[in-house]
């Protein structure tokens, strides 16, 4: 089987890319997803708020997911669900080898209930998304009873398999998704004790915090860390520590949901030998969302875990244009971007920036801006862009918060010296 573009991941980024690729006249667009239905994470995010920036309307998660899946299918993309990429093969057929380095097509082995088949793809778009760090990866010690889960598991249990859940429940984290988990728990019949965060306050919209308190009567416990999970065979509760006083207390509960703390699902990107960005932990991408391997692109929350679905979709749409330029040999909008990949890095307390590579002549990044993450709160923060002791730009961020996007315009990118040292973004 052959494809002009093989898209791995049928979430907002992958599906939006497929729609755009078909619109731009690309023939054979194959979209894979290992899940049993297309749509990605919004499929089980049964609350409203999806689609504002990409579709100019507001939908629930499942409606948003259906809309993209339908749009990609009716645009003529071939969508295959229940299909896993089992292996990438180098052009020489070396087993377990990396991606083809710009030579022949990418040979990708797929596993599904239809059997095992190989796709020869001229280009590949990785849109494998992200997941929440589970309790284990956060090294929260204690017993290991059932009843400890992530929001992803929670929402699949409640919205895809219709489970009722016991309460009381404790939500670990207080970012956007944590409030989503709270609503899901309420829907499933579980009383939520609190959202606990080790930060001094929650990092979602102010309105969410107020709604949690007024409508759901769920408080946010700030500056609180989960020290231990207890319960043999069955969850009994969690030991919480107040980071301001050092005091700890035991809270009895039947469920603990670990939310947020996103990590890109980068297994395939790393298996393929793509250069990775140490900040995002996704593949390093230029402003066209091209990776270190020519013809391989990456979009969505694989490259910025986690932005909202509409931002992921817009990234997919953006990558589609880069893919078309690549397929047409750099024709179209202008000259092909230069070969030199200039890294863009951040200094603490900034955590990451995406895109994180500049190439001479490259396009503007998605939505004309870079997106960053900060580890600190600041009413007004000044961002500075430096290269080789030269300040390229200054920007301002109002109401900077951890877990929330910090945006930086891209007009300075053309001023960077492609042959110079790395570009660094830092707080002044």
């Amino acid at each position: 089987m052959n494809a002009d573009v093989l898209i791995v991941g049928a979430g907002p980024a992958g599906l939006a890319a497929a729609v755009e690729l078909r619109r731009l006249g690309v023939d054979r667009v194959l979209v894979l997803d290992r899940d049993e239905a297309a749509g990605g994470i919004p499929r089980h995010s049964e609350h409203t708020g999806f689609g504002a920036r990409d579709l100019r309307r507001v939908l629930t998660g499942p409606a948003y997911a259906r809309r993209y899946a339908d749009a990609a299918a009716s645009a003529g993309a071939d969508i295959r669900v229940g299909t896993t990429v089992a292996r990438w093969e180098g052009p020489d057929g070396s087993p377990g080898g990396g991606l083809s380095q710009g030579g022949g097509p990418h040979r990708v082995m797929l596993a599904s209930s239809a059997g095992i088949e190989t796709v020869a793809a001229r280009t590949v778009l990785l849109a494998t998304g992200c997941r929440e760090r589970p309790r284990t990866a956060r090294l929260v010690p204690g017993d290991r009873p059932p009843g400890v889960m992530t929001t992803g598991e929670l929402q699949r249990r409640v919205y895809l398999t219709g489970q009722r859940l016991p309460g009381p429940a404790l939500v670990v984290g207080a970012e956007h998704v944590s409030f989503s988990a709270m609503v899901t728990l309420a829907h499933a019949g579980a009383r939520v004790l609190a959202l606990v965060t080790d930060r001094p306050r929650h990092t979602s919209y102010a309105g969410f915090g107020l709604a949690a308190s007024w409508r759901w009567h769920v408080p946010v416990w700030p500056s609180t860390a989960v020290r231990r999970v207890a319960g043999r065979g069955r969850l009994e509760g969690a030991e919480l520590a107040d980071l301001r006083t050092g005091e700890s207390r035991f809270v009895a509960c039947d469920l603990v949901v670990f939310t947020g703390d996103w990590i890109p699902d980068h297994e395939l990107a790393r298996a393929g030998g793509l250069a990775m960005d140490p900040g995002t932990r996704g593949p390093a991408v230029d402003t066209a969302l091209g990776t270190s391997v020519p013809g391989v692109f990456a979009a969505g929350n694989l490259v910025h875990a986690a932005e909202t679905a509409d931002i992921a979709a817009l990234g997919g749409r953006h990558a589609a244009r880069g893919i078309v330029a690549f397929l047409r040999g750099g024709g179209g909008d202008g000259p092909a971007p230069g070969p030199v990949r200039l890294p863009v890095t951040v200094e603490p307390p900034l955590l990451w920036i995406a895109p994180n590579v500049l190439r001479a002549g490259g396009p503007a990044p998605p939505r004309g801006r870079f997106v960053l993450r900060s580890d600190v709160f600041a009413r007004l923060a000044r961002l500075e862009v430096w290269q080789d002791g030269r300040r390229l730009a200054t920007g301002f961020s109002y109401g900077m918060q951890p877990d929330r996007p910090v945006r930086l315009g891209a007009s300075w990118a053309s001023r960077a010296d492609p042959g110079g040292g790395p570009v660094t973004v830092r707080l002044a």
């Binding site: 290992r34 899940d35 229940g82 896993t84 089992a86 596993a111 599904s112 209930s113 239809a114 059997g115 095992i116 997941r131 929440e132 760090r133 589970p134 309790r135 284990t136 990866a137 090294l139 010690p141 204690g142 017993d143 290991r144 059932p146 009843g147 889960m149 992530t150 992803g152 598991e153 699949r156 249990r157 895809l160 398999t161 489970q163 859940l165 016991p166 020290r227 231990r228 207890a230 043999r232 065979g233 069955r234 969850l235 039947d254 469920l255 990590i263 297994e267 790393r270």
Partner: protein, 505 residues
């Protein structure tokens, strides 16, 4: 070999084996294959749920045991037997070899003595290598190593499939398995013993004590007081499969008198294991991890293999070794009381299991138990859950024959619907999701259920077993009496009656 049939009163068994860990199942298997009627009793809802499930998953050569000890002898024998058995039964094994790395001059000075000890233990292929060859073999090793001993035979093995294979074979040979039955007392008698359990009484002629962490208690029920089990907790960290390329062999530290120390090893599931700690705990059920334990392991990991620090942790767990004050295994048979004690196996039970079973069978025969003396049949072929061989999702012929082997449910571990279905319908089905994990690897991956836990719970529930892992109603309650024979012992843990049909004739 007809034992319990339906709800009737079972005939007295020849042997009751108390403890269905890797040692107990190995003994039950060995006896059942020799036409000995055997009841295998365990307090838990599955085989291999104690020390057997939470260890370093290494097939030890025994190179560092005390020369001349029973442990040395049985470990050496068990290593050979299990290596062969695993190949035939489909138990994942990888012959990685180990490097015992010296990080200080003192440790380097100890290497010749360790090499000599290995030879005295019959492990003759151990040899030293210099620092250059060491870093050539393990380029990701942290800086500062001075040299190493190569122990080519040290291997990694699946600790879950092993007792399951033994138990499956024992059941097929007529042994009965009585789970959720904690032995609370033994009425030793002239003609027969009566083992009192939380689900009723088991009559038998011989008692084999393979109760691991509880073996001192069972020994006391037989009137013994020769040893006390001191549970020694070991915490371990499992790293993401993306860390697997960081090493090719097992990396061992120079052992101290107290413990073998913190090692880094690949696992047969394609992960990297770091641990264990060693801490004496009073409670033989305390398998909680601790902040201090995990932090100390992360420190050690950073020194041994700095690349680990950049990788995600997939799982953390703790297990308890059944240590005693003695340095050697506590194994003896008392023919006059028809009692065999198999205790103090510490951390080498997995590797030594078949050696121990062979030895104990021999002692029992010497003491008058009749063994048929027939050759061992081919073992059952277990579902393959290793990473090195071909899994169902990679097997075109298998998927063509049955498309459920192409339907991946657990994406991290690439477990298919077909494998889950098979495990649920197998001769020794899981009683809970943890049991399903040990049979298939499902839920064991980096996402820890983010993607698949809901589906897996649904499949489990659809099988007639409980998928409601959270409800208070599922709290484990062992029935106080066994009113209708062993079949009545179902309800524990909200589990279905079908699980208890494992006690079969």
């Amino acid at each position: 070999m007809t034992g319990a049939e339906g709800t009737g009163e079972p005939l007295p068994a020849d042997v009751a084996v108390i403890g269905a860990g890797v040692v107990g199942t190995a003994i039950a298997r060995a006896l059942a294959l020799q036409d000995v009627s055997c009841v295998l009793i365990d307090a838990a809802n599955d085989v291999g749920t104690g020390t057997s499930k939470a260890n370093t998953a290494i097939l030890h050569t025994g190179f560092d045991t005390v020369p001349g000890s029973l442990e040395s002898r049985l470990l050496r024998r068990g290593y050979e037997l299990l290596g062969d058995y695993a190949g035939r039964a489909g138990i994942p094994v990888e012959r990685t070899g180990a490097l015992l790395v010296a990080w200080t001059a003192e440790q380097a000075a100890e290497l010749p003595a360790i090499e000599d000890k290995a030879r005295r233990n019959g492990v003759t292929d151990v040899h030293p290598i210099g620092v250059d060859e060491l870093y050539q073999r393990e380029p990701a090793l942290g800086p500062g190593a001075l040299g190493a001993l190569v122990i080519p035979g040290e291997s990694i093995i699946c600790p879950w499939t092993t007792p399951l294979a033994y138990a499956t074979e024992a059941l097929a040979a007529g042994a009965r398995l009585r789970l959720r039955s904690r032995a609370t007392g033994i009425r030793a008698g002239e003609a027969e013993h009566q083992v009192v359990t939380t689900t009723g009484m088991v009559r038998c002629r011989w008692v084999v004590n393979a109760a691991g962490l509880h073996s001192d208690g069972v020994d006391a029920m037989m009137g013994g007081d020769r040893f006390t089990i001191c549970p020694r907790r070991g915490e371990l960290i499992v790293f993401d499969k993306l860390a697997r390329p960081l090493l090719s062999s097992i990396l061992l530290p120079v052992p101290t008198a107290r413990t073998k120390g913190v090692l880094v090893a690949p696992t047969v599931y394609g992960n990297v294991l770091l641990g264990p700690t060693a801490e004496d705990v009073p409670d033989p059920a305390d398998v909680a991890t601790t902040a201090a334990g995990l932090a100390s392991l992360m420190d050690a990991g950073r020194r041994i293999l700095p690349g680990l620090a950049a990788e995600e942790v997939t799982a953390t767990y703790a297990g308890l070794r059944a240590a005693t004050a003695e340095r050697d295994y506590q194994i003896w048979v008392d023919g006059s009381r028809r009692y065999a004690c198999v205790a103090g196996i510490r951390s080498t039970g997995l590797s030594a299991s078949l050696g121990i079973a062979e030895y104990v069978s021999g002692l029992l025969a010497d003491a008058g138990l009749h063994l048929a003396g027939r050759p061992e049949p081919d073992p059952p072929v277990m579902p393959y859950i290793g990473q090195a061989g071909t899994r169902p999702y990679q097997d075109a012929a298998r998927i063509a024959a049955d498309s459920e082997y192409g339907q991946i449910v657990c994406h991290c571990e690439r477990v298919t619907r077909g494998e889950i279905r098979d495990a649920l319908a197998g001769p020794l089905p899981p009683a809970d999701l943890d049991g399903l994990r040990r049979r298939t690897r499902v839920l064991n991956g980096r996402c820890q259920g983010f993607y698949c836990a809901a589906t897996v719970a649904q499949l489990f529930a659809g099988s007639g077993m409980t998928g409601a892992v959270h409800s208070r109603a599922s709290r484990a309650k062992v029935p106080a009496t066994e009113s209708r024979g062993p079949q009545a012992s179902g309800g524990a843990g909200g589990s279905p009656p079908r699980t208890s049909t494992m006690e079969q004739g």
